[in-house]
Structure formats: structure tokens, C-alpha cells
């Protein structure tokens, strides 16, 4: 029972924070609402016995990506979002789609198969035990998928080098920086 109560409270917080994110006109507030929402989802993962996924959710999504979001919002000074949106058709369409999704979800949830599984839960297959634990994820990533993992590393390095090559002009190393500075002085 305490599990259900915890779930109910968290679900309420998650839904309210999602609505808050959609309706707030200040971009910083919206981003903070999203943090709450992502944190709630992390706890859901914990409840589904996926502790590693929960921690990744906190560090990557609620942590790193949200810091990036806030940083960009503040850097661009885009806190204030204009109230009247040009995409007027968007809200009714979104509501219609949400209702459709809700209908499908309810249909699945109350289908005889799912209800039957709720009454007589099937045993957890052996390969699913420990699935999603840090050990299992680590073993899969560094043992079975060792080569793809290393290749992704190379790929990210290449992407970084590429960005530097395409954006940083190094052709005239002497006096180039001062020229640039003068140009920007004149522009200012």
C-alpha cells in the first residue's frame, strides 16, 4: 500500500509540474517545472526496480541537460515568452491528440489481456532479473558492445574536431586576432 500512496503523490506532482511547464510564460519557470517532472520520473524508475536508469535520469536529464537549457535561456535573455502565440491551431490540436492518446491507453489498460495479467501476474523470466541494474548495463556496454562503444567515442571526438575546424579560422596566424578585434571595435 505505501507504494501506491507514494506513486499517487508523485504522479500528481508529475502531472501538475507538466501542466505548469506548459502554461508558464517565463521560460526559466518552465525549465524549473521540467526539472521537477524529470525528477518524479526518476523516482518512478526507482519504483520499477531500475536504479541505474533512475540515476541516469537525474544526472543526465534533470542535471546536465537542464543546466544547458537554463544556460541557453539566460544567455539569450529569452525568459519572457510573448503571450499570444502565432500558432493558434496548436492548442486545440494538442488537446485532441492528448485525448486520443488517453483513450487508447485506457482501452489497453482495461483490455481483458492486461486485466488478466493483473489478476494472475506472470513470473518474471530469468533473463529479466537484474535487467537494468548498473552491473547488467555495464557488462552489456563494455563487454558485448565494446566495439560500438569505442566507435561512438571516436565519433564524438571527430564531431568535436569537425566543429573546431569549421568554425575557427586559423589561416592567418600573425596579426589575425588584432585584425578581428579592430573589426569588432569598428562594428561596435
Amino acid at each position: 500500500m505505501p507504494g501506491v500512496i507514494l506513486f499517487a503523490i508523485l504522479a500528481l506532482v508529475a502531472i501538475l509540474s507538466a501542466i505548469g511547464m506548459l502554461t508558464s510564460t517565463n521560460a526559466v519557470h518552465a525549465a524549473l517545472f521540467l526539472v521537477i517532472n524529470l525528477a518524479c520520473i526518476a523516482v518512478f524508475f526507482l519504483g520499477l526496480s531500475a536504479p541505474f536508469l533512475a540515476m541516469v535520469q537525474v544526472t543526465v536529464y534533470a542535471g546536465a541537460i537542464m543546466v544547458l537549457f537554463l544556460f541557453v535561456i539566460m544567455l539569450l535573455g529569452a525568459e519572457r515568452v510573448p503571450l499570444s502565440s502565432r500558432l493558434r491551431w496548436q492548442a486545440p490540436l494538442a488537446i485532441a491528440l492528448v485525448l486520443a492518446l488517453l483513450a487508447v491507453t485506457l482501452l489497453v489498460a482495461f483490455s481483458p489481456q492486461v486485466q488478466g495479467n493483473l489478476v494472475n501476474p506472470r513470473p518474471v523470466p530469468p533473463e529479466a532479473q537484474g535487467f537494468g541494474s548498473p552491473q547488467a548495463v555495464g557488462e552489456t556496454l563494455f563487454a558485448r558492445y565494446l566495439l560500438p562503444f569505442q566507435m561512438v567515442g571516436l565519433l564524438l571526438l571527430v564531431a568535436m574536431i569537425g566543429v573546431v575546424v569549421l568554425t575557427k579560422d586559423e589561416r592567418k596566424p600573425t596579426g589575425h586576432i588584432s585584425e578581428n578585434a579592430q573589426a569588432s571595435d569598428r562594428a561596435a
Binding site: V152, L154, V158
Partner: protein, 499 residues
């Protein structure tokens, strides 16, 4: 979960690519300490890495001749004759690519050390592509091959056509990658695994949860993604603009390396993972091959810019290799067709790199001088250059004594063997021969220009370029006159499921 052992990872088997990728990472750091006036040091260090990788490849080839194919990194990669042969082609192309760039970059004031490191990265991507035994590795290798090429195409920024080339190549390439990933996802959904050996088991039957329809749709999308890489019609739209806009040494390397890399994946994925659906893809690839040969050769006729003409010629040559791919679906023809395809890729590599070397020699510092008219009178001013260019053009057409003739001969031989009882392949083969005749019209226009028209015929052959030219001309000639030892090697370029 069985943890990998040193034996199952088998670092020794994948040593050539490990050396190259590791050296590329190191060179990125070393390059920071090399002053901008001495960037040719980076180039020579990159050549050193290619040499080391080549030596390792040599040892690996000797080991292969004794013990056969082996798996590496668990079952993610396989080192067989096919992988080793193509890895040799990639290393050779990268070496020639560096020689072509060595004088070109400073002349055009776009020399940066990253050029050479990115070249090593894309080469290691190609080498991984040749040994990929899992669809995830195929995808990542394709990206590792493509990303540096996108950057290299834009290396002459802020020159507008170079930026345009990079942008076009990147956007369309990313789009094609999307098709490939979606295809891989559907194949995974249909077969329950991304391992090529697992996919074939699932499709033949007896696998865990075979869903052939999903896998066939996935196969089609994979064909789209790889068809883009090899510039097959109708996924060729990017080729002329990218080839024309990118710096010429990049175009030279790209036309050879990216194409061979794409075919490496195409041959392995379709022959290893999807032999059960050969009736389906055999027909599709045969039709694509016919369209590619017709469009490439016919449109090339009307081009006056040599870089653009070579772009359409590269589309046409993709068609000839596709004929071999289509023929390879018959198990009894497969060994011959696969070795014909890889041998064709080798002949195309040396010939096309040589042709582009001549274009680089003629190109002026402002990027002009690459029209067909600029070849006028070259025979009087630079007779050796004219002879070499004539040889390359003969080879691209497929006229003896040149590599291209032998390459085409073996492709058509395989196709004729496969055409017994398959009128479609016979038709495609006839189209291939006819379009080769058409191609003579635009290839031989250049020798005619050089020998029978008067003009200034200016060219600027700097030392490294001269070495590259001599090597490619010699290779084109030798492959055409004494092809036996190389064919012998290509005969061993067999695809294996796993070691």
C-alpha cells in the same frame, strides 16, 4: 552474461584499424605542437600511421592465409579475406589522398593539420566498415566514415561552393543515415537481433521470432541508406555538386573511399544477412544498377567541368559494381562476383585518384582551370602528363592496356555466369556493355583535346603530386597488363559468416 576474454576480443586480428584509429587520436594532440608553417610534418606523420597499419595488415594477411577468417570483439567484427583486401584498398587510397593534398592545401591557403587527422579517422571508419559483422557496427562505421568527409568537403570555407558542398552532403547524408537506422531498427524488430549471422538464421527459419515482412522492409531501407553512400541512382543527387564544390583532393579521396566503404557494407550485409531474400533484392539492385549506368554515363556527356564529369562517371562506375552485387546473389557465382567487385573497386581507386591528380595539377589557385578546354595543347607542353591522363581515361572507359578493362571484364564475366536462366541480369549486362561504349565519347574527348587542339596547356606538378601520379599511372598500367597476382589476391577476398 559471459564476459569477453582476450581471445574473444582478438585485438591482434583488428590491429590494423586499431593502430590507425589510435594514431589518429594521438596525431590530433601532436598536431597542436606543430607550427602552422610546418603542417607537412603532420602529413608525413599521418603517412607513418598508414604505413604502420599497412605492415600490421600484411602480417594479418599472412595469418589469414594460414588459419582463415576469425572473429574480433566477440562477434561484432570478422576479419576475412574480403575485409583484408578492402582494408588494403582503403590504406592505399588514404596514402594517395595525402600525397594529393600535400601541395594543394598550402597552394590554396587552406592547410591545417586537422586535414590529415580527419583523413585517418575516415579511413579507420572505412576499415571498420569492411569488417563489420553487426548492423550497429555497420551504422557506426558509416558515420565514422561520413562525418570527417562532411567536414573535409567544407575545408575550403569560406569559399562558397565548398560550404555548399559540405552543407548539401551533410544534410542529405544525415537524411540517408536516418533511412539506414530505421532499416536496422525494423530488421532488429523482424529478426530479433542485429548480428548479421543472427539475421540470416531468423530469416531462414528456426530463429527466435522471425517476422520476414519487417525484415524485408528494413532491408529496403538499408539499401536506400547504403545506396546514397555509393551514389547509386536515384540516390545520387548530391554527387555532382559535392564533387565539384569540395577541395579536389577531398573529392578524389571521397569518390574512391566512400564508394568502396559503401560497397563493403552493401556486399556484406546483403550477402551474409539477407541471402534468403535474394530474389527480392537481386531484382531491385539489378534495376538500380541499370538506371545508375544509364544516367551516369548519359549525363556525363554534357558536362564541361572535368570535376563534374568525373562525378557523373563515379555514379556510372557505382552501377558497374552493382551489376556484380546483383550477380552475387546466386551462390555458385558469389565467390567470382565478390572478387570481381572488390577488384573493380581497386582498379577504380587507382585510376580515379590518378585522374584527379591530373585535375589538381591543372587547377589554378583560384579554383578555375578544370574545364575540358583547359586540357587543350597539354600533349605539347607536358607530354608525360598527357600520356598519364590518356591512360586513366582509357582505364575509366575500359579499354586495354589498363586496369579498368580487366575490372570490367571480370564484372561482366560474373554477370554472364549469373545470367544463365536470369534474363534480367542478361539485360543489365548488355546495358553495361552499351553504356561503356557511350562513356568512351566523353572520356576520350580529353585525349582528343590534349593531342589535337592547340592551347596553352598549363600544369603545375609539385613533387608529392608527381609521386602520386607516377604511382597511380604505374598501378593502372600494371593492373591492366599483369593483373594475375592482384586477381589472385582478390580471389581470396571471400565473405565469411564468422570465424
Amino acid at each position: 552474461m559471459n564476459l569477453p576474454t582476450l581471445e574473444s576480443i582478438n585485438l591482434a586480428a583488428s590491429l590494423p584499424v586499431l593502430i590507425l584509429a589510435g594514431w589518429a587520436c594521438l596525431l590530433t594532440a601532436i598536431d597542436l605542437f606543430i607550427s602552422p608553417e610546418r603542417k607537412h610534418w603532420t602529413a608525413w606523420l599521418a603517412v607513418l600511421g598508414l604505413l604502420a597499419s599497412g605492415v600490421a595488415l600484411g602480417f594479418e594477411a599472412v595469418a589469414y592465409s594460414q588459419r582463415g577468417a576469425v572473429s574480433a570483439f566477440g562477434d561484432m567484427a570478422v576479419v576475412d579475406g574480403f575485409a583484408l583486401f578492402l582494408q588494403g584498398v582503403f590504406l592505399l587510397s588514404a596514402f594517395l589522398g595525402i600525397l594529393l593534398a600535400l601541395n594543394y592545401l598550402p597552394r590554396h591557403n587552406i592547410e591545417r593539420g586537422e586535414y590529415y587527422t580527419l583523413l585517418l579517422f575516415t579511413t579507420s571508419g572505412m576499415m571498420l566498415m569492411a569488417m563489420a559483422a553487426d548492423l550497429i557496427v555497420v551504422f557506426l562505421a558509416l558515420e565514422l566514415l561520413s562525418l570527417p568527409l562532411y567536414v573535409l568537403s567544407g575545408f575550403a570555407h569560406p569559399r562558397l561552393d565548398s560550404e555548399e558542398a559540405a552543407m548539401k552532403y551533410f544534410l542529405l547524408g544525415a537524411f540517408a543515415s536516418g533511412f539506414l537506422v530505421y532499416g536496422i531498427a525494423l530488421t532488429y524488430g523482424g529478426a530479433g537481433t542485429t548480428l548479421l549471422s543472427g539475421v540470416v538464421e531468423a530469416l531462414v527459419g528456426g530463429g527466435p521470432a522471425p517476422n520476414p515482412v519487417l525484415a524485408i522492409v528494413g532491408m529496403g531501407l538499408i539499401l536506400v541508406g547504403l545506396g546514397f553512400k555509393v551514389a547509386a541512382v536515384p540516390f545520387h543527387m548530391w554527387t555532382p555538386d559535392v564533387y565539384q564544390g569540395a577541395p579536389t583532393p577531398v573529392t578524389a579521396f571521397m569518390s574512391v573511399g566512400a564508394k568502396a566503404g559503401g560497397f563493403a557494407a552493401l556486399l556484406r550485409v546483403f550477402l551474409i544477412a539477407f541471402p534468403a531474400t535474394g530474389d527480392t533484392w537481386g531484382v531491385v539492385i539489378a534495376i538500380i544498377a541499370a538506371l545508375t549506368m544509364i544516367l551516369g554515363n548519359v549525363v556525363a556527356i554534357s558536362q564541361s567541368n572535368v570535376k563534374r564529369m568525373l562525378a557523373y562517371s563515379s555514379i556510372a562506375h557505382a552501377g558497374y559494381v552493382l551489376v556484380a552485387v546483383a550477380a552475387a546473389r546466386y551462390p555458385e557465382v558469389e565467390p567470382l562476383a565478390v572478387s570481381a567487385a572488390v577488384f573493380y573497386l581497386l582498379t577504380y581507386a587507382v585510376t580515379n585518384l590518378g585522374a584527379f591528380a591530373i585535375v589538381i595539377a591543372l587547377e589554378r589557385d583560384d579554383g578555375t582551370g578544370v574545364e575540358v578546354e583547359d586540357f587543350a595543347g597539354l600533349a605539347k607542353t607536358r607530354p608525360w602528363l598527357a600520356i598519364a591522363m590518356t591512360l586513366f581515361m582509357l582505364s575509366l572507359t575500359g579499354i586495354p592496356p589498363s586496369a579498368g578493362m580487366v575490372g570490367k571484364f571480370f564484372v561482366f564475366q560474373a554477370a554472364v555466369q549469373a545470367s544463365v536462366g536470369d534474363p534480367l541480369i542478361l539485360t543489365v549486362t548488355i546495358i553495361g556493355v552499351l553504356t561503356s561504349v557511350i562513356s568512351a565519347f566523353y572520356y576520350l574527348r580529353i585525349p582528343v583535346m590534349m593531342y589535337f587542339r592547340d592551347g596553352e596547356g598549363q600544369a603545375n606538378v609539385q613533387p608529392a603530386l608527381g609521386v602520386a601520379l607516377a604511382l597511380t599511372a604505374l598501378a593502372t598500367f600494371l593492373l591492366g597488363v599483369v593483373p594475375a597476382p592482384f586477381l589472385q589476391m582478390a580471389r581470396h577476398a571471400l565473405l565469411t559468416l564468422a570465424g
